[in-house]
Amino acid sequence: MADFLMPSLGADMDAGTVLQWLVKPGDAVKRGDIVAVIDTEKTTIEVEIFQTGIIQKIVVPEGEKVPVGTLLAVLSTEGEAAAAAPEAKRAAPAPLVLAPAPPTPPAAARVVAKTTPKPAAPHRVRISPLAMRVAMELKVDLAAIKGTGPEGAITKTDVERAAKAPPMPAPAATFEGRAPAAPPKPAVAPLDRPATMRKVIAAAMARSKREIPHYYLGTHIDMSKAMRWLQEENLKRPVTERLLYSVLLLKAVALAADEIPEIKGFWIDGAFRPSEAVHVGVAISLRQGGLIAPAIHDVDKKSLSEIMVSLRDLVKRVRAGVLRSSEIADATITVTSLGDQGVETVFGVIYPPQVALVGFGKIVERPWASGGMVGARPVMMASLSGDHRASDGHRGALFLTTVERLLQEPEKL
């Protein structure tokens, strides 16, 4: 038996409301299926399940608000499910055998045991521990991989091969087995979201400023090469596939974070836990007020076009109020761009337990001296808010200059 608990979908979530169940007892689910819609006071989230099995019981009904970690549903894993039926049959005659002669049950019991079919061994994917870890990082569906290791075991090479294999489906779709047909209709009256969201943001940001010793760095970046390249690139693309310059910024941040590992990861229980994957949280403001920063996964490994698709999808779903649990909880670094709003500089507040936040301002034409000449260039202010527990200003500076360097070679992004 496995428990499905109310997940923690971010540092600022203490409790969630089950808006809707997308499964019922008896339904088979597999890892990655979306099983419920949860309201976190900040947004509505489609919650994925991480076990494979059969839903036995729904514990928390729709509309109820419960703390993080509360048992929401019970499911039986595959092996148990297979064993469950014979178990029931075996249980019935047992009292008949045992009741007449309680002192001498062993013989009878032995007979019963012998005739009972052995429960089928639970089916396990043969995969090496390393390959499993890599598969989780790359979000590769194990079912689709053919193992070439001993007795068909999946090795790291197999996973990497599968991850590279085209076409890479849209993000998160790999684990999505049961997407709801229509956007879920809240079963309960929506909460007073703006007010509760304010409270939630207040708690997270107060915690950040209370616990995280921030340091701040900023640098001006000459965006002329990037903007020129983007213009030429977009001319080649159909309108629907054109890129926004934010995509260049996201990719540059992700690649720079790969080079400076102290920037991405989490500070948990007094220690820095670096993350190999770069899931970039994108701060998106909501029309009704407030903001949310869901993650685009593995930005460093995605092409610009893939990032653009992810970004567009994310913004659309944020505005519609439907996000997936994995997007909410696992950003390893966050980017905020307030350029659209017209400001040139933003020094952000780190979203715990992350350890860095990158801010981009508006691109403005400025006099720019280079090689003894002054000219007008599009210039953008990039900033870094770093957690001094995890990194020092020196490494932070290296990170920012790496972002700058990468933006000077946009064709390589």
Partner: protein, 333 residues
């Protein structure tokens, strides 16, 4: 001056003799004792000529009584000497197990930290010379089980030359296991080779595809296997443990974390062996780095046979290492 001019051709036996001679010269408290170490020059001729140079007080022949002369060595160490006790083979050391395990390894503890035993015991180990089942076993893994002693396995000329002095400087008992097939190994060594540290394993060959972890008599076979594997495109790393107790887990894990595959080659028997301990530590420390199960290549679980073809078949060989690694790498090199 060319590099060669600073090197000298030397055998493992001579390197070991240099080490003993150097220790005798450097420290008046050092003496050598064991069966046939004096007049006969040592069963493996390691101490040849030392009796003539240092006299019978410092090169002492003993009766055939391992328990007595190891016990005498412990007593001498307790009283301020720095004895080197030679036991002819590891099989015979079993007669002195009581002295080694119950006394040498425990007295520091039993005396509440008052009495150290700065004793070095050297002995031959291993098979491969058709000496049959009572002179050929590899029991150093047993000794590596015992807290209170250190267990060294010099597999190179440098370690044969350098480990003894460091062992003598250690305030506690150190056992040195010299594999019998190594004495005739000849190679080049720096003329000024001296003491080496004894707490770290060494990467004798760097590689990226698989970690071959071994020590002592199987190091040569493993390096040979690594060269053969290189010819077929498999880049094997060879880790020489050098010290079996305390094990340098860090170096082992560091290697496995880079290669994600490990094979332990150990001339001891598989069941309850040092190779089992190493495999367990890899599982404990690098489980999520492993792309294949750890493999072990050990001796067949039989008394080591006398007949050459049977002895060869019972021991880990370069060909078995190559075959195992090739099977592991399968279609994905």
């Amino acid at each position: 001056m060319s590099l060669d001019a600073q090197k000298v051709k030397i055998t493992y036996r001579e390197a070991m003799r240099q080490a003993i001679r150097d220790a005798l010269v450097r420290d008046q408290r050092v003496f050598l004792m064991g069966e046939d170490v004096g007049a006969y020059g040592g069963c493996y001729a390691v101490s040849k000529g030392l009796l003539e140079e240092f006299g019978p007080d410092r090169i002492r022949d003993t009766p055939l009584s391992e328990s007595a002369f190891v016990g005498a060595g412990i007593g001498a160490a307790m009283n301020g000497m720095r004895p080197i006790v030679e036991i002819m083979t590891v099989n015979f050391s079993l007669l002195a197990l009581d002295q080694i395990v119950n006394n040498a390894a425990t007295i520091l503890h039993m005396s509440g930290g008052q009495i150290n035993i700065p004793l070095v015991i050297r002995m031959t180990t291993g098979a491969g010379r058709q000496l049959a089942a009572q002179h050929s076993h590899s029991l150093e893994g047993w000794y590596a089980h015992i807290p209170g002693i250190k267990v060294l396995a010099p597999a190179t000329l440098e370690d044969a030359r350098g480990m003894l002095w460091t062992a003598l400087e250690d305030p506690d008992p150190v056992l040195i296991f010299e594999h019998g097939t190594l004495y005739n190994m000849e190679g080049e060594m720096a003329v000024d080779a001296g003491a080496v540290e004894i707490s770290k394993a060494a990467v004798q060959r760097a590689g990226t595809d698989v970690s071959l972890i071994t020590y002592g008599g199987t190091l040569g076979k493993t390096l040979q296997a690594a060269e053969q594997l290189a010819a077929s495109g498999v880049d094997a790393e060879v880790v020489d443990l050098r010290t079996l107790r305390p094990l340098d887990t860090e170096t082992i894990l560091d290697s496995v974390m880079r290669t994600h595959r490990a094979v332990v080659i150990d001339e001891g028997w598989r069941s309850g062996s040092i190779s089992a301990e190493i495999s367990a530590r890899i599982m404990e420390g690098a489980f999520y780095e492993l792309d294949l199960p750890v493999e072990r290549i050990c001796s067949a679980e039989v008394p080591i046979p006398y007949a050459k073809h049977l002895e060869d078949a019972a021991l880990p060989q370069a060909s078995t290492i190559v075959a195992t690694v090739t099977r592991m790498m399968g279609g994905h090199g």
